[in-house]
């Protein structure tokens, strides 16, 4: 079994090595795009099948596969080992499954790119890192994957590195992630210190950490560890204050945005918090911080998305906003719900990104529009690309929360978790209201971008007609759209089970599967409250259904009537605030003024002075000193042979004297 399961880790790495080295060494291999695409896709597809097998033959309790001892130092004993349990297998299926579809899609999307082999190398390396992240059984293996996905993200954002803004976007992503990683390291050190004080060996495995947390072993450090892990998660999962890199990350190829910056990597922060949930359970203060930060992120990103005209920017801000929803669920202690939303979001957001990729592909091939990503130059595309248009519509409805598509169930569960978190009127009720507004705004901007792209009249020069993408790109779209439709049925709401007489079993993801690994007092309390106030719950479900349907319906009619001119009316409606939305709430400018600017000033003035006077000064003083000493002793060099000989003779004489008389 261990050998079979090791394929999950080894094959993507092997794929990356073969494609990378082969491409470097042989020009013939580099040109053979079919072979590279097949190898790359198989290196993800086979692990997907293996994980499926592991899922269906899962024995019911967590399995740990130890590969080899990695490092030992004092009490620290880290094993290279992997863990199969409900959470990691679920994440593994999402990552490799969606990953496989996106690899397949990329064969069509990246066709003819000179870096084709490089692209697949990075993509396979990413899957390898991601598998380490979610399947690793201890913090260190997890951190290996955590850094690996950060690296691959950097490489792929800057894939077209000859374009300076794209290279800068890659650097921005890397730096923002490093800040989070620093917090993660400190959290790990604190965990080690706390655990080393009570046990003989520390392997930092999740099982041990959770056990330690359950016994209250972290004590006063619980708050700090939880906060630091959350800060690390804000880096990777794009929350305030570190989210600024994600919208810029859209500089990479579109399938990369779908895979890394929507479906998988950015959800690793949510995975990690769900994995370490006992620590968060023990520090309600951090949960409150998470929920406030998440709500701010969600609402700010949603309002920013309204005013963007770049189709990928809209999706990027939408991703930030949806990640905010997931963190809100975490903040309410509803970890299972967060993972549920991770899953449904992976389906419809990957589909949306791939759809936008298909659109960009078509616009690029027309060679007539200046910016192939600007929705203002599109319009009416569904006529020309029915597969892309229809799947995009399905995913838009899913993300807007239209019943019975997947987004409805996960988003509704988040909303009701927030509402039922406490009794009476408290912070979480406010957050619930913000989330409801955000859900409505989400429906608005997603419908807007879909209407502007696919419906109405064509706004591009009609000399050439855009073409539908090849089947290798539309098949993944249809599969993902199908999953976006049915994905929600894995987590049907419990009250429905009560009505149908099936009880909690109707919610497979929470009560059939993840409840073995995630035990949350908070989630339990939420369910209790919801059960007691089932009428309110009906009302909430009705409300979120109504909000989503109304928002989509009204937006559709609005943009059908006004077309692109609708944006003008939206601008008038928001007045001065529209500028703020268009300016992305000036986060980049704020960081430029408060952090980057002062650092540059420091570098140009203080550090430069120190460099010239202290560092260079020391070096110059040494060289001057040597030169001055040399000036004194060089007088000995008269250049006269007889002088040298005299000294040699005197030396010989001295030595002889010493030998004879000494």
């Amino acid at each position: 079994m261990t050998y079979l399961y090791s394929l999950i880790i080894v094959l993507p790495l092997l794929g990356a090595l073969i494609i990378g080295l082969g491409g470097l060494m042989s020009a013939g291999f580099r040109k053979n795009e079919g072979l590279i695409g097949l190898l790359g896709t198989a290196a993800v597809g086979i692990p997907f099948l293996v994980i499926l097998y592991a899922f269906f033959s899962y024995p019911g309790d967590a399995q740990i596969y130890e590969i080899f001892p990695w490092m030992e130092a004092g009490k620290l004993k880290i094993n290279f080992s992997y863990q199969h349990d409900e959470l990691s297998l679920l994440m593994g299926m999402i990552v490799t499954g969606v990953g496989m579809l996106i690899h397949m899609y990329s064969i069509g999307y990246m066709k003819g790119d000179e870096g084709f082999y490089k692209y697949f190398t990075y993509l396979n390396l990413f899957i390898f890192s991601m598998n380490n992240l979610i399947l690793g059984d201890n913090m260190v293996v997890m951190f290996l994957g955590w850094e690996g996905v950060g690296l691959c993200s950097y490489l792929l954002i800057g894939f077209w590195y000859k374009d300076m803004p794209k290279a800068n976007a890659a650097q921005k992503a890397f730096v923002a992630n490093r800040i989070g990683d620093f917090a993660m390291l400190i959290a790990m050190f604190m965990m080690y210190k706390s655990m080393a004080s009570v046990s003989e060996f520390v392997n930092l495995s999740f099982v041990d950490i959770i056990d330690h947390a359950h016994h209250g072993g972290f004590g006063d450090n619980t708050f700090w560890i939880a906060l630091l892990v959350f800060i690390a998660a804000t880096g990777k999962s794009a929350q305030i204050p570190l989210f600024v890199w994600l919208p810029d990350a859209m500089a990479g190829p579109t399938p990369v945005s779908a895979l890394i910056h929507a479906a998988t990597m950015v959800t690793s922060g949510i995975y990690l918090i769900a994995r370490l949930h006992p620590i968060f359970e023990a520090s309600p203060e951090v949960l409150s911080i998470i929920v406030v930060v998440a709500a701010l992120t969600a609402v700010i990103a949603a309002f920013t998305a309204i005013a963007q005209n770049d189709i990928k920017k809209v999706l990027a801000y939408s991703t930030v906003s949806q990640l905010g929803f997931m963190f809100m669920a975490l903040g309410a202690g509803a970890y299972v719900t967060a993972i549920f939303h991770v899953m449904t979001h992976a389906f419809f957001k990957a589909c949306l990104f791939l759809g936008s990729g298909s659109v960009i592909h078509a616009m690029e091939h027309m060679h007539t529009v200046e910016d192939p990503q600007d929705v203002r130059t599109m319009g009416g595309l569904r006529k020309y690309m029915p597969a892309t248009g229809n799947t995009f519509w399905i995913s838009t409805l899913a993300i807007s929360g239209i019943i019975p598509l997947s987004g409805f169930f996960s988003k509704d569960e988040i909303l009701s978790s927030l509402f039922f978190y406490g009794e009476g009127f408290d912070l979480y009720k406010v957050i619930w209201f913000v989330a409801l507004i955000t859900a409505a705004v989400t429906a608005f901007y997603m419908t807007r971008v879909t209407m502007l792209t696919f419906e109405g009249s064509e706004r591009f020069p009609d000399a050439k007609k855009p073409h539908e993408s090849p089947a290798i790109m539309t098949i993944p779209l249809w599969i993902l759209a199908g999953l976006a439709v049915v994905g929600g049925f894995l987590g049907l709401p419990i009250f429905l089970g009560d009505l149908l007489g099936m009880g909690e079993g109707i919610n497979w993801i929470g009560h059939g599967w993840l409840e073995h690994i995630i035990h949350s007092e908070n989630a339990h309390a939420i369910h209790e409250h919801a059960h007691e106030n089932v009428l309110i719950e009906y009302g909430l479900v009705g409300l979120s259904m109504l909000v989503a349907i109304m928002a989509v319906f009204l937006t559709r009619n609005f943009y059908r009537k006004h077309g692109l001119a609708g944006d003008e009316k939206v601008r008038n409606f928001f007045g001065g605030f529209y500028k703020v939305m268009q300016g992305k709430f000036y986060f980049d400018e704020f960081y430029q003024r408060t952090i980057i600017g002062p650092f540059n000033w420091l570098g140009e003035n203080v550090i430069k002075w120190a460099e010239e006077n202290i560092v260079d000064g020391a070096v110059k003083a040494i060289s001057e000193g040597v030169k001055n000493i040399g000036d004194v002793f060089k007088q000995l060099q008269s250049g006269l042979v007889s002088n040298y000989l005299l000294i040699v003779s005197l030396g010989v004489l001295a030595m002889l004297t010493y030998l004879i008389f000494g």
Binding site: L640, S642, L646
Partner: protein
């Protein structure tokens, strides 16, 4: 006149005098040719001392009596090496002096001080 009878020490004394003359000559003379001759004088002083030591350590009839090679032969052997090397050195040295003369029309070695700082 027993004490006037030359023995090994006599030759060693002559060698010392020759060496000292050579060394002093190299140091104080400025004409390149003379300096060169003084070097030769020093080499020959060494040769003379080697001959003297060879005679001093010789064992008569060593070969016939089966004692092995005459230990005194080592010194005589070395003399031939020194003479060979001195011959080669004379060629190089004189060539340098000729080259020097061609370049500067002067063989005063105190004027050849390009090694001076």
């Amino acid at each position: 006149m027993e004490f006037l009878e030359p023995n090994a020490y006599t030759y060693l004394a002559i060698a010392v005098v020759m060496f000292a003359l050579g060394a002093v000559g190299v140091m104080i003379r400025r004409n390149g040719i003379v300096v060169f001759m003084c070097i030769e004088l020093m080499l020959n002083a060494v040769n003379l001392s080697l001959i003297a030591f060879s005679k001093m350590h010789a064992v008569s009839g060593a070969f016939e009596e089966g004692v092995g090679p005459n230990p005194g032969a080592n010194g005589s052997m070395l003399v031939f090496f020194v003479m060979c090397v001195a011959a080669a050195e004379a060629v190089v040295g004189l060539s340098i002096i000729i080259a020097l003369f061609r370049n500067r029309l002067d063989i005063d070695i105190n004027n050849v001080n390009i090694f001076k700082w």
